[in-house]
Symmetry: C2
Subunit: 173 residues, 2 copies
């Protein structure tokens, strides 16, 4: 059911952050053009929710000054992985599994070291969430071996190391 | 009160997304080291909440493939605005007012056109939210003239244009 039809039937549509790789912008334009009243309610986007439930901080002083949310499945245009790699800031890649191998290779060609920490978070924030920690060089093979399935987020950068540090601190206490 | 002291007193601490420029990572490490039990609850980060309540989509097909959250007030290290500008992806700058003029200049030196749309969103998501739309070249002067005050988010990129489009569609219906 389209949002327009849903609105006309009196319904509403709650879900993560519709503006982050969720076609919320296109739907907003369509609703405004159709004269349908709407309100957009901020909610947690999957990529950032995945970090909080995996003990991977989006930002940590000394490690990074930015966090980049990017689609792994650009329908309309190729992502410039080179330019993203050169920022040296961590990446949170949505819909990461299908092109995982080529994304990991492109980021290495862009200058990120092969041993850059990389994590896959599947079914983020849900009860069946699974987290797999690897490196940029090995993440595609590891994800296949561990049978990680969509929906899945890829996190690339030194912020991933914090998870291990926190887990080991918790285990030791 | 530190989070550790708060936890020991039986309290809890709700707030946006503590992991996005909120020292949540540092506090998590400190709590884990102190043996304090904690849970991190995902919530809406100010920058993305600001976009939803301003009718500026984080992503729009054809316009961008990524969205970059970055601090305008890096305590520890200079932000590489050049590298960020070269991604040609929109930027959401937290704590943007203090260094607004130098940030806008750095992004233009990095190759962003002077007429790149730039918006300031003050007191985002609150009842007294104010949105000001300008360009990279004029945003610092405009923000001063309009007396925009902290807390404020700077949004840079073509996604800002969508707000005007939606407002004009709504006005016409």
């Amino acid at each position: 059911m389209s949002l327009e039809a849903l609105a006309r039937s009196g319904g509403h549509q709650p879900r993560g952050d519709p503006f982050v790789f969720g076609r919320g912008g296109e739907e907003m334009i369509s609703l405004a053009g159709a004269g349908v009243r709407f309100r957009i309610i901020p909610s947690v986007t999957a990529g950032l929710g995945a970090l909080t439930t995996s003990w991977i901080p989006s930002t940590l002083r000394g490690l990074n000054q930015a966090i980049i949310l990017v689609t792994g499945h650009a329908a309309d245009k190729t992502v410039d992985w080179n330019a993203l790699a050169r920022t040296r800031q961590p990446l949170v890649v949505y819909m990461a599994l299908r092109n995982l191998s080529s994304i990991a290779e492109a980021l290495q060609r862009g200058g990120l070291p092969a041993d850059t920490p990389a994590a896959i978070i599947a079914s983020a924030t849900l009860e069946n969430q699974r987290v797999m920690v690897s490196t940029l060089e090995r993440v595609a093979a590891d994800a296949q071996r561990e049978q990680m399935t969509a929906p899945a987020i890829l996190v690339v950068g030194d912020i991933v190391r914090v998870r291990e540090e926190v887990l080991s601190l918790c285990a030791g206490s």
